[in-house]
Symmetry: C2
């Protein structure tokens, strides 16, 4: 039995006799033989790796995403090569990575994405799927949540509770998600002739904390705050607690994402849920399909969001 036969047997090529195949597999297992991946990649022009770009692992949202993404990729026979460096340096290494064909494609799941990395996307570097965030007009496949719609749900919720002095602490204004959420929120408020006083910050606990302190120190502080994501919201909640402001009786807080923490007893945060597992799954599949040769459709998949009402919101006193 020769080498090519082994190769075929191990890949379940039907052209090999069932019993020889069985014998070969048994022997491979016994000898601990596994095909050399680099040699295989060299000839198949496929590595079976995909790059997963996540910038802010400190936001619990990303690990949650990563977990699903990873297991989905795995079930598609793909390995996740992690890239989470600071954005600034990312662009170049991603290009190299993709060009070096170490990875067959990439899932870009960074909230922020600067000009440099934009460029990388424009050069047609094979298979790329944007996850969580979109780059309008990039012509790339994208899987995102209905950020504007979700934010509108949050706005309506606060309005229905009777809030009129409403503030918001958004994410970085140069991020697509932050803009979408802010716009969706404002649009809904405008329908009631209202506007929110808006603070910008990054997607961090600290930004929420400081932002909330500022808002509470104002002359007529808001009775409700809409936050750009859950981590900001939890920061705001902490700030309220630190200054003795009771939530939700004196202050309502709404987040975005519905990370696991949001449901913890200490927080019970009202928030907008993104269908994270579904999003990750879709992104992985689209990428896999693109890698398989299906050409990218430049399709935008917008999945619905959902308001999860917990204990951080109530009618203003």
């Amino acid at each position: 039995v020769t080498q090519p036969t082994v190769s075929r047997a191990l890949r379940d090529d039907p052209r090999v006799a069932p019993k020889t195949a069985a014998r070969i597999k048994e022997a491979a297992l016994r000898l601990g033989y596994v095909p050399h991946s680099a040699a295989r990649s060299l000839v198949t022009k496929r590595s079976g790796n995909v790059a997963v770009l996540v910038a802010e692992l400190n936001n619990p949202f990303y690990p949650e995403l990563l977990e699903v993404l990873h297991s989905e990729l795995d079930s598609l026979g793909l390995h996740a090569v992690l890239l989470s460096e600071r954005i600034q340096t990312m662009g170049e290494s991603v290009v190299s990575l993709l060009r070096s064909e170490l990875v067959d494609g990439a899932i870009v799941a960074t909230a922020t994405l600067d000009a440099k990395t934009e460029v990388l996307l424009r050069e047609q570097l094979g298979s790329i799927v944007l996850l969580i965030r979109d780059v309008p007009g990039s012509g790339r496949d994208a899987v995102v949540a209905d950020n504007a719609g979700g934010a509108a749900l949050a706005a309506r919720h606060l309005l229905e509770l009777g809030h009129r002095r409403i503030a918001s602490i958004t994410g970085p204004p140069d991020t697509w998600t932050a803009r979408e959420r802010a716009e969706g929120f404002e649009r809904e408020l405008e329908r009631s002739g209202l506007r929110s006083s808006t603070t910008h910050g990054d997607y961090s606990h600290d930004a929420g904390y400081k932002g909330c302190l500022d808002l509470l120190a104002a002359d007529s502080p808001p009775t409700a705050i809409f936050c750009g994501n859950d981590v900001i919201a939890l920061g705001a909640l902490d700030a309220a607690r630190a200054t003795g402001v009771e939530v939700p009786s004196q202050l309502s807080i709404v987040g975005f994402d519905d990370i696991a923490l949001a449901g913890w007893e200490s927080f019970r945060l009202t928030t907008v849920r993104q269908p994270l597992p579904e999003m990750a799954r879709r992104a992985a599949r689209i990428l896999a399909a693109t890698i398989e040769g299906k050409e990218p459709a430049g399709e935008r998949l917008v999945l619905p969001t959902e308001l999860v009402v917990r204990a951080s919101t109530a009618a203003p006193s």
Copy 2:
């Protein structure tokens, strides 16, 4: 100028003339040429990838670890291939991965590690470094924190505050970290002739929550609880809050790890800090050295832990 010259120039081989090298690099950049990684691996017998095994991404500790690990590996010219599947299925795929030479080595940073994966370690699969957890007698390089010592610090702290009815909620008894911490804690209590009533659970918020409820429901509930890690501690804290038990006045809680959350205003958890960045850095370097041919020393690097006193501990009332 021929192909091998290009190869040499791009690898900064000194045997190529500085000005030709410059010209070649310029051209490569202009043409967007990057060496094909699979072809390179095939001949160098080195992929530049390392597997990073983390099982519980839902524990914020791991993302924090991953972040440092990733950036450290990156600066060593290595890529992190993520493996975070459920342990059960992990063993086999890891073996394949290592054998297929897709990765040059692995960093095993899973708290839990079952028999099957033990086997994988015993077979001498090239370079492996254990991080966070040790497998005593495995002869593997390991970078761990002084778990027993840290737990002892926690015990002493509680004793000095005057606690006598002390409980602990440990991690899974089949994990090395949980055992080390529990033993270190008990040993210190014994020096004062005390013992803690111990509950076992997994390393989850839920386990802490339920464990704490159980302890509080006892006839003479403890005045202090030592938890196997921060996530458990936060769960316990949540349980205390849910039942109206004031922390720290009625109940002191100590965690382990010092994850970012522990410092948040809502928690201000007293905990034992592991020198996470240092640990990750060391592990990455040891692995890199091993990959470079330095044979594994089977060295155990035990880094010191430190008690971080915040607002979840006080003298019993």
